[in-house]
């Protein structure tokens, strides 16, 4: 039975169902319970965004509030994963990557290969990314390309409640480290989600809208702007195919290439900064693999190559907008 729930609820349901199913699943992070050791109520926060609210009552000490020591607790999650647990650790903001990255890219990402295939590291690192709430330069970045650059990390980025649940369950069951990126402005988006448990395989992009004129490829929050742009363009008879990548590593380039072979025109939308981004990577791959199909230069719609500004006025200019996507689609059509 499907019903409409938010992304926040979808992630909570995924965690709940997996914890029910598998006693080795544990959750840890700063304030994921909230109020541990404090005089007020237990389960005071349920995480910075309330994702875990209610799980402490059901699972008790399988939820662990951590000291503010990202390197130690992300590392401990990784260590526990190599010893038979399936931890889901929360890095509250993706921007905090800088204080614990060694554990992620030099440790977790390397173990299976570096140890000759003997190690498995089934850890999920949930993290919140993206601009849009005036959280300023150190709490607003889209650092997804930093993770996709590293061999040994899987990178997931859902845009809908349905995908969030299915991809989270898949991530927990996966035997390798998964970075699960959630845009902070998507938690309250609603959509149909089945009550029962289900998985969505990695590297299966989702075609949200079919069209023969231009291919738009994107992920995360930008999916919704791309769909909005496509709707507006459709009023002028321009049909865009909108592809939600859903996972960034592994990535479903086949679906992208097939679409570009049909449309001949590609717009890639990425909230990350432009250099060495998901957008530039997809552009390069399409130029390599579908050169003959291209009828116009590839357009990239990204944030500018600046830190994220604080002022709501500036931030609005910073984030790729529906208008900018429309302009880029029109540019490819006028070539």
């Amino acid at each position: 039975m499907a019903r409409e729930i938010t992304i926040k609820e979808a992630i909570r349901e995924a965690l709940d169902q997996e914890m029910q199913r598998d006693p080795t699943v544990i959750l840890m992070g700063e304030d994921i319970v909230g109020g541990t050791g404090s005089p007020g109520e237990d389960d005071a926060w349920g995480g910075a965004m309330g994702v875990y609210k209610g799980l402490f009552g059901k699972y008790g000490n399988r939820l662990l509030d951590t000291p503010l020591s990202e390197s130690a607790f992300i590392g401990a999650a990784i260590g526990a994963a190599t010893c038979g647990m399936r931890p889901v650790a929360e890095l509250m903001f993706i921007d905090f990557l800088g204080v614990c990255f060694d554990q992620i890219y030099n440790q977790a990402a390397k173990f299976r290969y570096m140890f000759g295939g003997k190690a498995e590291t089934p850890v999920v690192i949930r993290t919140m990314y993206g601009a849009g709430i005036s959280a300023a330069s150190q709490h607003s970045q889209t650092l997804t390309p930093i993770f996709t650059h590293i061999p040994g990390l899987k990178v997931v980025c859902p845009s809908t409640p349905y995908d969030a649940k299915g991809l989270m369950i898949q991530s927990i069951r996966d035997n390798d480290p998964v970075i699960f990126c959630e845009h902070k402005n998507t938690y309250d988006l609603v959509g149909d989600v089945p009550e029962e448990s289900y998985t969505i395989p990695f590297a299966e992009a989702n075609i949200l809208r079919e069209g023969d004129d231009v291919t738009i490829v994107t992920y995360g929050l930008m999916v919704h702007r791309a769909v909005e742009a496509a709707k507006q363009l459709a009023k002028d008879g321009i049909e865009c195919e909108v592809i939600d990548l859903r996972t960034l590593s592994p990535i479903d380039m086949e679906t992208v290439i097939e679409s570009v072979e049909n449309t001949g025109k590609l717009v890639v939308v990425d909230e990350a900064n432009p250099r060495c981004s998901i957008a530039s990577d997809i552009s390069a791959t399409v130029a390599q693999q579908a050169f003959k199909a291209l009828k116009a230069p590839i357009e990239m719609v990204t944030s500018p190559h600046t830190p994220v500004p604080f002022s709501p006025d500036l931030e609005k200019f910073y984030i790729p907008s529906t208008e900018k996507i429309i302009a880029s689609v029109q540019k490819t059509l006028s070539y």
Binding site: P67, A72, I78, A80, Y113, M114, F115
Partner: protein, 327 residues
């Protein structure tokens, strides 16, 4: 047996000797072979520090976990990682412990509870906390041991891990193998406290300093900490003061060391000599017991190097094995 004043029985004493002597012979041979130019990469030798690894690991079970340092050969051997595979790994051969993908700095064998030598100093501390956390959930009585040097004792990872282990009451032991040098920088210059016990106390856990060249001192101190951790008594810190016979890495000219320093420590602070004296003077073991073991180790090390030098090299196809995302 009546001659034995030690808390280990004859078989255990023989095992302790075998571990230390195997490490010594392994490292001395690596030193020789590295000089020929046939051993690739960075190699950091544990010779002189054997009593620490052996003294601690003699208290462990196979399912206990350790995270090691860049100087990890001794920890591997003491934890039971197979010597022939290790030598082949140092040569980068496909018969190596990690099929030639890790090398000296990343030898790991999770089947033996060895979570890896580590090229990032201090990075093993959170991992050992993770092993200890898993132990708590599984309630299996195992412990997680984090080895690190005096250099890594200044890394944030270590300090964060001390607090995390104390806050979560983890069955974790942090072993600071203080050999006096972080590469060339002296411990006395780079560590503000005189004793790591002060650091332990600062993080809310017991700490003990021992002579790391005395196997029995290490064994006893570690044994108490490990038993306490197994019984739910939480983490501890053990400082083993010790010396290394060789440089930070093979090829280190060691111009930072004092004149005659290495000769002096080899003569007067050799943990293996000390162990032999202790067990033979008390007549707990006879020299002939040790000679027999020496013979076996000599054969093993010779075989291991001969076989490794002849072992198959990995092929280009091996480059892409144990990969879970391909482009």
């Amino acid at each position: 047996m009546s001659n034995n004043p030690f808390p280990l029985n004859r078989d255990e004493l023989l095992r302790a000797y075998r571990i230390m002597k195997t490490i010594r012979e392994f490292e001395e041979r690596v030193h020789v072979e590295f000089a020929t130019g046939d051993l690739p990469g960075f190699v950091h030798l544990y010779a002189g520090e054997e009593a620490s690894g052996a003294g601690i690991m003699m208290n462990l079970r196979q399912d206990d976990h350790i995270s090691s340092t860049h100087r990890g050969h001794g920890h591997c051997i003491a934890k039971g990682v197979e010597v022939k595979g290790m030598v082949a790994e140092l040569y980068g051969r496909s018969t190596g412990t990690c099929h030639g993908k890790g090398g000296s700095m990343h030898i790991a064998d999770l089947d033996m509870g060895m979570m890896g030598a580590n090229g990032i100093l201090g990075a093993g501390a959170p991992l050992a906390c993770g092993a200890a956390l898993a132990s708590k959930y599984k309630n299996d009585g195992t412990v997680g041991i984090s080895f690190l040097g005096d250099g890594a004792s200044n890394a944030g990872n270590f300090l964060e891990s001390l607090n995390l282990a104390a806050v979560w009451d983890l069955p974790a032991i942090f072993v600071v193998e203080n050999n006096g040098y972080a590469q060339s920088t002296s411990r006395d210059y780079a560590v503000a406290v005189d004793s790591y016990v002060d650091r332990a106390v600062g993080f809310g856990m017991p700490g003990v300093t021992v002579d790391g060249t005395d196997f029995f001192a290490v064994h006893e101190a570690a044994g108490e900490m490990i038993s306490r951790a197994r019984e739910g008594g939480g983490p501890s810190l053990l400082e083993c003061n010790m010396i290394r016979f060789y440089g930070h890495f093979e090829g280190d000219a060691q111009t930072y060391r004092g004149q005659g320093e290495v000769d002096e420590i080899r003569k007067n602070r050799d943990c293996l000599k000390k162990f032999i004296q202790q067990v033979t003077q008390t007549k707990a073991l006879k020299q002939s017991d040790l000679d027999g073991i020496d013979q076996e180790i000599s054969v093993l090390i010779n075989q291991a190097f001969d076989e490794a030098q002849k072992a198959p090299r990995p092929t280009e196809a091996d480059l892409l094995t144990d990969v879970y995302i391909s482009y």
